[in-house]
């Protein structure tokens, strides 16, 4: 039984200038199991972000429905859906979207601001999560005083502070250099290794290679699904089907005791080899 089920999801925007309807998603069906790491790839304008925001309970689909943990998300009222986001979802944005006037720990505490917890409890929780993502001792820094990688980790800390069952990420390494991007992916893999369900939009085949599954979207339609990282890496680079099955099991399944560092390294090697 999937934890997340998107059924026949379509999204249409009306273009005021031309007074026409622009269809962005067509009958998309997605299922994500608990603990799964799913990547979504596709060219710009293919509908990746729209699908992500729909799965993130932020963007009402024109058609279809979204069930998360059995809850029909878009049947909820706007305010109840906000509560749902606070309780079930964590977001990592491409630009991180940290609030520059709040300290690192205050940024992490943001999702807890509306919860009826003691201030000390909120702070402890935030510090604990910061420690987990390797930001211990940087609680009082402002986002501008952190490196790109640290900002990315801070954004992840904010996304997971409320222990959301589902973590959504929109090209979290898109604006980072390779080393920093790897650093962020390591955090994601560690989280996923601990059972965190993860749905990530990415352009980066190396990152996609780390997922259990990769969904491809084109012109608003899901047109293929790669079950193994090696296939993804291959498709993402030169489009040929050269198989390197020996890499697949240790990279793609958490039960094979992979470590995030090893996984990234191996995928990067694989990518280089394929190129």
């Amino acid at each position: 039984m999937s934890f997340l089920i998107a059924e026949n999801v379509s999204k249409t925007y009306s273009d005021r200038d031309s007074q026409t309807e622009v269809s962005v998603l067509h009958n998309v069906n997605v299922g994500i199991a608990e603990g799964e790491f799913v990547c979504l790839m596709g060219p710009s304008g293919s509908g990746k972000s729209t699908l992500l925001t729909i799965l993130g309970a932020m963007n009402h689909p024109s058609q279809g429905r979204l069930l998360i943990d059995g809850i029909d998300v878009y049947a909820l009222s706007d305010e109840r859906r906000a509560d749902f986001r606070a309780q079930y979802l964590g977001f990592v944005f491409q630009q991180h979207h940290l609030l520059p006037f709040l300290s690192a720990v205050e940024n992490v505490m943001l999702p807890l601001a509306t919860l009826p917890l003691k201030a000390s409890e909120k702070r402890c929780k935030a510090l604990d999560v910061m420690e987990k993502v390797g930001l211990g001792g940087k609680a009082s820094r402002l986002p501008s005083q952190l490196s790109g990688g640290e900002q990315g980790r801070l954004a992840i800390a904010r996304a997971i502070v409320n222990d959301p069952p589902l973590l959504l990420a929109d090209e979290p390494t898109g604006t980072l250099d390779t080393r920093t991007g790897d650093e962020i992916m390591r955090v994601f893999l560690d989280l996923n290794g601990r059972g965190q369900t993860l749905f990530m939009v990415t352009h980066n085949p190396t990152n996609a290679a780390l997922a259990h599954r990769v969904l491809h979207i084109r012109d608003g339609r899901l047109d293929g699904e790669a079950g193994d990282c090696w296939r993804t890496a291959r498709i993402g680079t030169n489009g040929t089907q050269a198989a390197l099955p020996q890499f697949a099991p240790p990279l793609c399944h958490p039960e094979h005791n992979r470590t995030s560092d090893a996984a990234i390294r191996e995928c990067r090697n694989l990518d280089a080899e394929l190129q």
Partner: protein, 411 residues
């Protein structure tokens, strides 16, 4: 971390904008506070000046024959009184519940008398009270002190050749304070004595021309006139000046009528109406200016908050995306507005009162003071907060309705 933490952090971050907004509200509230304080003082001053400007209640006996006119008020005829007005009635006026609001109770006996072959109106008055009542009187000479001394009205004095006058500068030798024109007629008393009803009287002073009935009257002490007219203890009219800034003159009239059921008691509508109109105009003017200033303040808050919402689209989108309800967004913005407005209101109260205290001497003459009233501070802060909340309501609601996905993606 609470919603208020975000609001306060935002205020700290946008100190300049917050201060600008607070200053805008402060100027608005300050203007209103200054206007209200100044107009309040002016109202009091106008009220007290008008209260001093003669009597506003006249008590006369019931009579069928009203043949003489006094100050535009028809005075009961001297000869056909049905119910007599006595000095005891004047004393009774002082026993009404509103007695503390009575400024002057001036009894008079009026009668016609032969003066050098002419019929003139003779008024017996209590000079001390009369002088308090008729502050505009300018006396050339002095106020009569003895029973055989008289004060002549200007026309009477001219008619009996008691004065000759020349144009000149100065106060005309008047003993009483009042408003003087720069150039006045200088009156010289040319005669010391005058025969009234066959008895010699000393002319103590001559009234400067008033243009009123006083010009055609002779004033002597009340007791003396009662003797001359053979009406001991009798009165023709009692003029009452009530200090009635906060109470309707009509209430005092009702109380006097109750105390003196056998006499006529009338409010001098003209003076009451003039006073009410003057005060009302001031009040209306202050209200209109206040409304205009407050509307401008509200527009300032509105535009600033609208631009602030646009500027913070991304931030609001992030908050909505991570689970903030619409009401949380509105609350956060409203906390900011309330803090800014309260600061503006407080600043406006201090600035407005300071300005009005500084400006007061240029508007009033009687040394009126404006007190630092805490109640006005509470009102100023409440008004500022109300303006802030009302004018931020739309921007806040608009902010809360931002589509989080759009706000986050395109900001």
């Amino acid at each position: 971390m609470r919603i208020s933490t975000i609001a306060f952090a935002n205020l700290k971050r946008r100190k300049g904008k917050a201060m600008f907004l607070a200053a805008g509200i402060g100027i608005g509230i300050g203007t209103v506070v200054a206007l209200l304080s100044l107009s309040g003082s002016l109202r009091e001053e106008i009220g007290s000046q008008l209260d001093r400007f003669g009597a506003n209640i006249v008590i006369t006996p019931h009579s069928d024959n009203l043949s003489l006119d006094y100050g535009g008020i028809q005075v009961a005829g001297v000869s056909f009184d049905q119910q007599r007005l006595t000095i005891d009635d004047a004393a009774a006026v002082y026993r009404i519940p509103y007695r503390k609001r009575l400024s002057v109770v001036a009894p008079k006996l009026l009668g016609t008398i032969e003066v050098e072959g002419r019929r003139s109106l003779l008024a017996g008055v209590d000079f001390q009270k009369e002088m308090r009542l008729k502050r505009w009187w300018q006396i050339n000479g002095r106020v009569p002190e003895k029973s055989d001394e008289v004060l002549l009205g200007y026309d009477v004095a001219k008619a009996v050749s008691a004065v000759h006058s020349s144009p000149g500068r100065g106060d005309g030798g008047g003993q009483t304070p009042g408003h003087h024109s720069a150039i006045e007629e200088r009156i010289h008393i040319a005669k010391e004595r005058l025969a009234i009803a066959g008895r010699e009287h000393r002319i103590a002073g001559v009234l400067g021309q008033t243009g009123g009935p006083e010009d055609r009257m002779i004033f002597a002490s009340l007791e003396h006139v009662q003797t001359l007219l053979a009406k001991p203890g009798e009165l023709s009219v009692i003029e009452v000046s009530a200090l009635c800034k906060d109470c309707p003159v009509e209430d005092i009239v009702v109380q006097i009528r109750k105390a003196l059921p056998h006499v006529n008691v009338a409010a001098v509508q003209q003076s009451v109406r003039a006073r009410t109109e003057a005060v009302d105009r001031l009040t209306r003017f202050s209200a209109v200016v206040s409304v205009v200033v407050l509307v401008i303040g509200a527009l300032l808050v509105f535009t600033t908050m609208m631009s602030s919402v646009v500027e913070r689209t991304k931030e609001i989108g992030v908050l909505r995306a991570i689970g903030f309800r619409r009401t949380h967004i509105i609350k956060s913005l409203m906390i900011e507005v309330v803090v800014i407005s309260a600061a503006g209101g407080m600043g406006g109260w201090i600035a407005g009162l300071s300005a009005s205290r500084l400006a007061l001497p240029y508007f009033t003459e009687n040394g009126a003071q404006i007190e630092w009233r805490a109640s006005l501070a509470v009102l100023a802060i409440a008004a500022a907060m109300l303006i802030g909340i009302v004018s931020s309501a739309y921007p806040a609601i608009r902010a809360s309705r931002l589509d989080p996905s759009e706000a986050v993606r395109y900001a």
